[in-house]
């Protein structure tokens, strides 16, 4: 079959006019009526324009039908990527693709989720990946939608999380309309976010779209992972397919980079010979398998593991922690630590050694400074994916451990277990501080919730940085999906939509999703509550309502002190009072069960039970709790 060239505007006009002439001969009178004027006359030539261009009579309505739009083929491509969901706020730059997704694609794989803000769509995809380990798609409107999305894209980039994004555009200046279509078009759409996406492309044909979409998926999922962006030009979406022989390229995933054997052996020797090793894990366990491997390495070495950012290690494992008071690490193994400079400098000063394993070394951009400081005091710096390197490192350490050494390591392990137990009990005792206080202490709130979820298959889909990490201290985190960690770039407003995305991923597994939600974050884009209600995404949201952007209250107060001025005006710009926000009513407005505000800690348990009952029925629920600041 001979390949046809894609139709240009002129070709389209000729074809449309000729088709109109053929159909006109036997067309019923009703069909001969002039079609309603398109929304933008210059984007799709109306009959008057056609007549002017061709000198023939206006075409019939049926002549404008597009049996097989390019966007149908785009859906064919997307279906090969096994994308379960897409989040989107509708926009005219992708209207053809939108229609193809829901009708031609039958709104399955991916299923269209209506989002009230592009930032929410991308943040949902961010949260979804952190639970499910698969990318979600975000479909974004040209220029305006992409700028809305940019904050969430930056968070995903900083968190090394893949998001598969498609953005619309009216690239062809000869076809695009004046006014709104021009405002929503860009010469180089990807430039708006290029500093913080891993890769982007703007295909010029359907074949090009297929190749770039598959390549984008592959790049996004190769460590260090990151969001990718493909521009779907409106002209390519809406133009009829002319080449019916187009194929979708086969997806072959890139294997994550692994350290070479000699360097792994050198690192293993340092770790086995260390008297006080310490493993520091940040974005290390990409998958549940990564957690198992880290446990195996820690138990092989009898080394404590200091885990942060996400679930890398079971938090009640006897080796969890930093080794207790007096444990001065002499060899530190950093696994996907974003900025190891400070700890490496301190280690070097006391004669300790530092080993880094991170794929972050393999991908840096110039403008955004998320790489942190240059770690000049690292002794072995391995540019490789930590999880992919762990099997070789475990094997190398096991080879070096003699029977005598094993006995010494086991003795160390006994001491570490005792230190872990002591540290954990101290934290639990601290939870009693202010136990009956009102506003309610975050420790009490976390402690009241734990017995209600501990026998469920639960998952905490919110970050703990603003709640003093009380769940970490009181709950038993031992599964990869039980915590998804931080937002990445520290962009506020990510909390709620990321939680909805995490809960979305948990839904099909029947897990109980818990979102401890800060009030300041919720108010950036509360429409994500509606998305949860509309798409029946079960999740219990518990408000950490301290009625402020509390970190900033403290920071401004500190500045007032430094400037020798009083703190009595530090509420300006930092507090969320006068009026207080009624989150139970807000939930109700979005169609969600809401309760509160709760000020007496004795009322917490019953309220949580009622919320959990709702969530178990498959719906979201919100309980507003007035809390201590931290």
């Amino acid at each position: 079959m001979a390949k046809s060239k894609p139709l240009g505007r002129r070709g389209f006009l000729k074809g449309a006019a000729a088709g109109g002439a053929v159909l006109a001969a036997g067309a019923p009178a009703a069909l001969a009526q002039e079609p309603a004027a398109p929304r933008n006359a210059t984007a799709r030539p109306n009959p008057t324009t056609l007549a002017a261009d061709t000198g023939r009579r206006p075409p019939l309505a049926s002549a404008r039908l597009i049996e097989r739009p390019g966007s149908d083929f785009m859906v064919d491509v997307l279906k090969t990527l096994n994308l379960e969901y897409l989040g989107s706020n509708p926009g005219s730059t992708f209207e053809s693709l939108h229609e193809s997704l829901i009708n031609y694609g039958n709104n399955q794989m991916p299923e269209f989720l209506t989002c009230c803000h592009e930032e929410s769509a991308v943040a949902m995809a961010h949260g979804y990946f952190k639970i499910e380990g698969r990318p979600m798609m975000a479909l974004i409107h040209g220029t305006v939608g992409l700028q809305h999305a940019s904050m969430a894209i930056y968070n995903a980039y900083a968190d090394r999380v893949p998001v598969f994004m498609v953005v619309g555009n009216h690239a062809d200046g000869a076809v695009r309309g004046s006014g709104v279509e021009s405002y929503h078009s860009a010469q180089d759409m990807g430039a708006l976010v290029r500093d913080f996406v891993k890769w982007d492309d703007e295909p010029y044909s359907l074949g090009h779209f297929a190749e770039s979409a598959v390549r984008a998926y592959k790049i996004a999922m190769t460590p260090p992972m990151g969001p990718v962006l493909i521009v779907a030009n409106n002209e390519i979406q809406s133009r009829p397919q002319t080449d019916m022989s187009l194929k979708v390229p086969k997806l072959t995933m890139t294997r994550p980079p692994q350290a070479d054997d000699a360097t792994v052996a050198e690192a293993a020797k340092m770790l086995v010979n260390a008297d006080f090793p310490l493993i520091v894990a940040q974005r290390a366990a990409r998958t549940p398998e990564g957690m198992k491997l880290l446990v195996e390495l820690a138990e092989t070495l009898q080394s404590p593991v200091n885990s942060s950012e996400r679930m890398n290690f079971p938090l009640q494992h006897p080796l969890a922690g930093t080794g207790g008071p007096g444990y001065r690490a002499d060899v530190i193994l950093n696994l996907e630590v974003a900025d190891a400079s400070g700890a490496a400098r301190a280690a070097h000063a006391r004669g300790a050694k530092t080993i880094n394993i991170t794929a972050g070394n393999l991908f840096l951009k110039s403008n955004i400074q998320d790489a942190g400081h240059y770690a000049s005091d690292v002794d072995i710096d391995i540019g490789a994916d930590a999880e992919a390197t762990l099997p070789a490192l475990i094997e190398a350490t096991k080879k070096l451990i003699t029977a005598d050494r094993k006995r010494a390591l086991e003795e160390r392990g006994v001491k570490l277990a005792a230190a872990h137990k002591q540290a954990r009990n101290r934290l639990i005792e601290q939870a009693a501080i202010g136990w009956d206080a009102s506003p309610i202490s975050l420790a009490r709130m976390s402690a009241e919730l734990w017995p209600l979820i501990r026998n469920e298959d639960w998952s905490l889909v919110s970050w703990q940085g603003f709640i003093s990490e009380w769940p970490n201290k009181l709950w038993n985190f031992d599964k990869h999906y039980q915590y998804m960690g931080s937002h990445g770039g520290g962009g506020m407003g990510a909390g709620l939509p990321m939680a909805v995305g995490g809960a979305l991923a948990n839904k099909k597994h029947g897990r109980l999703s818990i979102n401890i939600q800060t009030d300041g974050d919720l108010n950036y884009a509360p429409g994500a509550l509606w998305t949860a209600a509309h798409h029946q995404i079960p999740m219990l949201t518990i408000m950490h309502n301290n009625r402020a952007y509390h970190a900033e209250v403290m920071f401004v107060q500190q500045q007032a002190s430094l400037h020798n001025r009083g703190a009595d005006r530090c509420h300006i710009g930092t507090k969320l009072t006068s009026p207080n926000i009624d989150y139970a009513k807000m939930a109700a407005a979005y169609g969600i069960y809401g309760e509160g505000p709760i000020t007496d800690p004795k009322d917490l348990s019953a309220a949580f039970k009622r919320g959990i009952e709702r969530v178990k029925k498959g719906e979201p629920a919100l309980i507003d709790v007035i809390t201590q600041p931290r």
């Binding site: 939870a431 202010g434 206080a437 975050l442 600041p629 931290r630």
Partner: protein, 114 residues
């Protein structure tokens, strides 16, 4: 030396004043916003626990003027917080109940302790 003597005199004067707890509550929660780091009950937060208050009033005021870790606890000069106001704050903190239960007496916590 002269400065030290003046400070000593001021501290001694402050130590002699008895604060007003009700006035101190307003200062703690609103004007000085002590709660931001120490919690509304003087017990919770990123700052040190204030309840039970183990310092005497003079030592408390001296600490606010010159905290041990000024990068964490801001220092507050007499221009910003007078000794009389700090005496009120001190009286309020002293009035706060030290109501922490023994963790082993709280079922929710006792069950977690190993």
């Amino acid at each position: 030396m002269k400065v030290f003597a003046i400070i000593l005199a001021l501290v001694s004067t402050a130590a002699a004043q008895t604060g007003n707890a009700a006035a101190g509550k307003a200062l703690y929660n609103d004007k000085f916003m002590c709660y931001t780091c120490h919690g509304y009950s003087g017990q919770n937060g990123s700052g040190a626990r204030l309840v039970p208050m183990k310092k005497d009033q003079a030592a408390f005021i001296a600490y606010v003027r010159n905290p041990a870790q000024p990068n964490r606890m801001p220092s507050f000069s007499p221009k910003v917080m007078s000794d009389a106001q700090l005496a009120d704050v001190y009286a309020y903190i002293k009035s706060l109940p030290d109501s922490d239960p023994d963790p082993k007496s709280v079922p929710l916590l006792r069950d977690l302790i190993k």
